[in-house]
């Protein structure tokens, strides 16, 4: 197949999943390995159409287990690699992610979160927050977790994800959800070939005689050595926590109530903030764009002045634990969630906020 020239910067109307796949090609992805699962199969489908005409390679693996281990191999060989799946498939990848974190291999993993547990539902959910931010597989490790809230961020975070993965030599997860994957919005796509690439010196590409063999492994049988590896990982996570926190604020300056939400929930909460302000309730939104590292420092600052926090998620209350840790008892933290693939409406969150407002006002009087 004849190759198409590199694409310039373009504004398009695209589905989240397709924007993410297109961004991956533009970001110079060398290889994609994946397995179909709703609601993210468009990623693999899009890539199987585009990659042969553009650059890189795409392979439909026999399972998510195989896909993540192909990622291990190709990343270890120095490639810029990506896989994507949805919740049950991401669960299958956890073993591989633990190995990848330990062997310190850069890669980008995308979870288009659907409702669980179990086979669950194909509707959008945020039920995988714990799995995403606390490690997910065995052992002490973290993934850098990026939480897009628009089709634009679905594309942008692919570029950012590759940069972070390569900078810190580790797996980066984009935690989206079914609605973000399926919805269409305008997206400003970066020019293809704009992200620089170098072949890492540690990659296994054949040993030249002037050096020792490169070994990609997560096996360190001596506990002293294993502890050292752990300490190195933890030191890395500490730097990430200091340097890579990202969040967005909306009307937090004078807010009595800080609503905390990420991804699709944050879009809905933004509307709630508007509705609340129309009613004279001073609400503001803090939207973490990175879930690990978490904007704990900023939340602690906001906790000094806020009357209360309301954490909103499409789960039974997962991120709220991190919000509570950050608030550290300075003020009350409430939670509103819907589960199993149900998306809360801006109005029902507003009702919750109004209940909290009444309670706080009554307490103050």
């Amino acid at each position: 197949m004849t190759k198409e020239p590199l694409k310039p910067r373009e504004v398009k109307l695209m589905k989240g999943n397709e924007a993410l796949a297109e961004a991956a090609i533009r970001a110079g992805m060398d290889a994609y390995f994946g397995y179909p699962i709703t609601p993210q199969s468009e990623v693999l489908e899009y890539l199987t159409i585009e990659v042969p005409k553009r650059s890189g390679l795409v392979l439909q693996a026999e399972s998510e287990v195989a896909a993540i281990n192909m990622i291990y191999g190709a990343s270890g060989a120095g490639g810029r690699v990506m896989t994507s799946s949805s919740s049950p498939g991401i669960s299958l990848m956890q073993e591989g992610l633990s190995y990848i974190a330990s062997a310190e291999l850069p890669c980008l993993v995308v979870n288009v979160n659907r409702g669980g547990p179990g086979l669950g539902t194909i509707q959008p959910s945020q039920g995988d927050y714990f799995q995403s931010t606390k490690g997910g597989g065995h052992g002490d490790y973290r993934l850098i977790v990026l939480a897009p809230a628009s089709v634009q961020e679905m594309a942008d975070f692919v570029f950012d994800g590759f940069v972070l993965a390569e900078k810190y030599r580790g797996p980066v997860l984009i935690l989206a959800d079914g609605a973000l994957g399926q919805m269409m919005e305008k997206v400003d796509l970066k020019a293809e070939g704009s992200l620089p690439k170098t072949v890492p010196s540690w990659a296994t590409r054949g040993r030249s005689k002037d050096r020792d063999p490169n070994i990609i492994t997560s096996l360190f049988i001596q506990p002293e050595k294993m502890e050292q590896i752990n300490m190195r990982l933890q030191a890395k996570y500490k730097i990430i926590a200091e340097k890579e926190v990202r969040y967005e604020e909306y009307h937090t300056d004078d807010a009595d109530y800080i609503l905390v939400a990420y991804g699709l929930s944050a879009r809905i909460v933004r509307k709630t903030v508007d509705l609340a302000r129309e009613k004279g309730i001073k609400a503001g939104l803090l939207r973490p764009q990175t879930l690990f590292p978490f904007p704990s420092v900023r939340i602690a600052e906001l906790a000094k002045h806020a009357k209360a926090f309301l954490d909103v998620e499409m789960n039974a209350g997962q991120m709220v634990e991190d919000v509570r840790l950050a608030v550290n008892g300075k003020t009350e933290v409430f939670f509103k969630g819907r589960m199993g693939g149900i998306i809360p409406s801006p109005e029902e969150i507003l009702e919750e906020l109004e209940r909290i407002d009444e309670k706080i006002v009554a307490y103050q009087e």
């Binding site: 026999e62 399972s63 060989a77 054949g206």
Partner: protein, 256 residues
């Protein structure tokens, strides 16, 4: 090594290949792994491809294969060597890639990866060490354990109706169109070693010609797991393993 005895005026007729490191093998006395490692590395050296070869180590006794093989290597999760090898080979199609896997890794936990890698005809070599037991974890039953074989998890013998039959992975993958060259060898006698080395060489040569998957089973022994002396283990291999796992080529190029 510095403390090597230097014998003046003698001709070197046999030496350790430079593609093996100085690390002494940790394998039990009499185990076939060391011979298999050496044969692969001899072939790599003889073909002059050590700078273009990437090996994938399994989980099992040979988990530390990368301590001995002086080439770039990756250590895979249990059973995933073929998937890891696929990732490497797809990214670097001009390089030589092989996996080195035991029977638990390849024929139990990694069955799906093995079959699909061969079915895609990935242009790489799979070296499969079959000793009918899980050596590293202390002699548990393997998918290739023989009927009535006593292991630490089949203490009354492998009863096939409850525990399944010995799995002939090599015959199984030979049916797949992606398999180009499939053979079963052994390393228990000098003659077997010579034939085995030839098979390993074939696997690399075919990879050079981009022919598809080459699958070399090496029937081997496990004196510790079998609770036998090294010598008795070779006898047991001949008497028990070989009738089930017959040596020879199973699929040859052009003879499908």
């Amino acid at each position: 090594m510095e403390d090597n005895l230097v014998l003046e005026g003698l001709e070197v007729v046999y030496h350790k290949p430079d593609t093996l490191t100085e690390a002494p093998f940790h394998y039990c006395p009499g185990c076939g792994h060391g011979v298999a490692h050496r044969l692969i590395m001899e072939v790599v050296e003889e073909m002059g491809i050590e700078e273009q070869t990437i090996g994938i180590a399994p989980v099992g006794c040979s988990v530390f294969a990368y301590h001995y093989m002086k080439i770039d290597m990756q250590e895979a999760a249990h059973g995933r060597a073929c998937a890891v090898a696929t990732g490497v080979k797809r990214l670097l199609p001009e390089k030589y890639v092989f996996t080195y896997q035991g029977d638990g890794d390849l024929a139990a936990i990694g069955t799906a990866e093995t079959i699909h890698t061969v079915n895609r005809g990935e242009n790489l070599a799979i070296f499969f060490i079959n000793n009918a037991i899980y050596g590293m974890t202390g002699g548990q039953m393997a998918p290739t354990s023989l009927c009535h074989q006593v292991t630490s998890t089949s203490p009354y013998g492998r009863e096939e109706k409850a525990m399944g039959f010995p799995l002939k992975m090599t015959e199984l993958v030979a049916h797949l169109p992606g398999a180009y060259y499939v053979t079963r060898q052994a390393v228990h006698t000098p003659n077997a070693v010579r034939k085995c080395k030839k098979a390993i060489r074939n696997a690399f040569e075919y990879q050079k010609e981009n022919k598809g998957t080459c699958f070399v089973e090496i029937v081997s022994n496990c004196p510790s797991g079998w609770r036998l002396t090294p010598l008795d283990s070779q006898k047991w291999l001949e008497e028990n393993m070989l009738p089930m796992y017959k040596l020879g080529d199973i699929k040859l190029p052009g003879k499908d």
